[in-house]
């Protein structure tokens, strides 16, 4: 269940200091291999626009649940993409719709620059878009 993955990531990050979080992301990136995201999926159609380094996301729906896979050419971003797709795969449409920007902020924890956080928010919105759901917005007063 993806929510468990999300909690695992969030708790692991909470237990680390900034430098260690940075290395944690790099380790996530290193654990992935080419079979996680075949080269032929790196098409313009799967490319997320507006990212500093290229990010590709693909989506599949099976039995009412959404599954995502992603890749990036930069290692740190690859780690972030991995965390995002692992956290938010396996959810129903309703669960995808309910993901908030705060859920994403919990996976950032100041380890990264504001620009990266913006990138993660964009990834969430892409995940929601691919799942055919409305994208998360800031709530008033947030």
């Amino acid at each position: 269940m993806a929510r468990e993955e999300y909690e695992d990531f969030a708790e692991a990050l909470e237990a680390l200091d900034d430098d260690m979080r940075f290395e944690f992301l790099l380790d996530l990136a290193k654990k992935q291999d080419a079979s996680d995201f075949p080269e032929e999926w790196k098409t313009d159609a799967n490319l997320m626009h507006g990212c500093m380094s290229k990010v590709w996301l693909v989506h599949e729906e099976r039995e009412g649940r959404h599954w995502f896979r992603g890749a990036s050419e930069a290692a740190i971003v690859k780690g972030l993409v991995h965390m995002m797709v692992q956290s938010f795969s396996g959810l129903t449409s309703e669960e995808i719709r309910a993901i908030s920007l705060d859920d994403v902020r919990r996976l950032n924890l100041g380890a990264l620059t504001f620009q990266r956080q913006v990138g993660m928010m964009a990834m969430l919105k892409q995940i929601q878009k691919l799942a055919g759901q409305p994208v998360a917005r800031e709530t008033a007063g947030a």
Partner: protein, 417 residues
């Protein structure tokens, strides 16, 4: 006013520790580590002399310029026009009327493309830029080309980043009406032989503009010696404030051009039957200008002049050579831009590593570099790379900081591979 210059004697040797003490931000720490600021090519830090001059203006003198019959307005107008005088002297312009304040270099180039380009260029005329231009010196000409049918030609850059004047000269012909070229590449550091470019362009009957955003920092720039028709630079890279650029133009050319932006302060007489316009420079300065910023630029020029370009150049050349040597010793290092005549702008890639990852690790070590295509995508395409990490070395950088950079790159290699 606080338009003071330091009491440091002008000599050909730069006392880098004394210079560093003038820049309050350089004693900051990031992530608990001393800040190593190597992103001055994007925007330089500000010495206290600039900060003090701007604060003094706002605390004691500020008002709008060229209007208001009161003491403060007159005082601010004087200070603003003195800044224009100082810029004219800095560039060795023939008159302060040749100095137009703009928001930045981008605006300066757009002004020329719009006001000069649309008035004097027609379909089939050619404008020459180079492969190593910043987008600011490409897109305005593309917009002009779309609007008028002007043809954009592109002077090549060699693999090592060199600019070969004979290859540029091959593009000149009787259709060439304007050459607009960087004086120093923001990615490669390559210095362009501006005087020779201007001589050849003029011989072909073309006007010539230089994007001096980077070059003016390493100066001195003498627009009359170069014989530039237009020259643009920006205050914030010259240790001055953001929000202010300069367009130099020869006075007869400026006065032959129609206005670019219409509004207050640029008019002679306005009525609903039609309006008439002031002469340069005011014709091209519609609306309230960047007043405090102009006063800040004045202080920045005084600061740089006080240290002296001989000393700055010698210091930066030493840093450039040391950076090339130190970084070249790193296995897998690829320096991008090794032209014989180059400024202290060090672009690089490390084999097998994405430049964003390298820059992110450098950042965690307190080293601030720029990463990406540096607003020069056509140059990236030409060199077949996605981007670079760029360390720009300024008058306040030290060899010890280059060692920190080198060690941070080595750490990035370990962490990322």
């Amino acid at each position: 006013m606080a338009d003071t210059v330091s009491d440091r004697p002008n000599s050909s040797v730069l006392d880098v520790e004394a210079v560093r003490r003038d820049f309050p931000i350089l004693s900051e720490t990031v992530y608990g580590k001393p800040l190593v600021f190597m992103d001055s090519g994007a925007s330089a830090q500000k010495p206290r002399q600039v900060i003090d001059a701007m604060r003094h203006c706002m605390e004691h003198q500020y008002s709008n310029v060229h209007r208001g019959a009161h003491y403060l307005s007159a005082a601010t107008t004087d200070a603003f026009e003195q800044a224009r005088d100082r810029v004219a002297q800095f560039l060795n312009a023939a008159s302060p009327d040749e100095i137009i304040f703009t928001p930045n270099v981008t605006a300066a180039i757009n002004l020329v493309a719009h006001a000069y380009g649309r008035a004097f260029l027609k379909a089939g005329d050619e404008v020459i830029v180079s492969e190593m231009e910043h987008h600011a010196n490409i897109v305005p000409w593309q917009l002009l080309a779309e609007a008028t049918g002007v043809v954009l030609r592109v002077a090549p850059v060699e693999d090592d980043g060199s600019f070969r004047i004979e290859r540029f000269a091959e593009l000149l012909n009787d259709r060439t009406k304007l050459v607009s070229i960087t004086h120093c590449s923001n990615v490669l550091g390559t210095n362009v032989p501006a005087k020779e470019v201007a001589r050849l362009a003029h011989a072909a009957g073309a006007r010539v503009m230089f994007d001096g955003a980077q070059a003016v920092v390493h100066g001195p720039v003498d627009v009359r010696d170069i014989d530039a028709d237009f020259y643009g630079f920006t205050a914030h890279k010259l240790y001055g404030p953001s929000g202010l650029g300069v367009l130099y133009g020869k006075l007869d050319i400026l006065n032959s051009m129609p206005p670019f932006l219409g509004g207050g302060d640029m008019i002679d007489k306005v009525s609903f039957k039609g309006s008439t316009f002031k002469e340069a420079p005011h014709r091209f300065e519609a609306g309230t200008p960047a007043i405090v910023e102009a006063i800040g630029l004045h202080a920045a020029i005084n600061y740089v002049a006080d240290i002296g370009f001989d000393a700055i150049r010698a210091h930066e050349a030493g840093l450039r050579d040391y950076a090339h040597e130190r970084l070249s010793a790193i296995d897998g290092m690829r320096l991008i831009g090794t032209a014989p005549d180059k400024a202290a702008i060090i672009s690089f890639l490390v084999d097998g590593l994405h430049p964003y990852d390298v820059a992110a690790v450098l950042d965690r070590q307190g080293v601030a570099c720029r990463v990406g295509h540096h607003c020069a995508e056509p140059l990236m395409d030409r060199l077949g790379i996605i981007g670079t990490v760029r360390a720009t070395l300024a008058m306040y950088n030290t060899k010890a900081e280059i060692d920190v950079l080198g060690e941070a790159i080595e750490k990035a290699k370990k962490m990322l591979s």
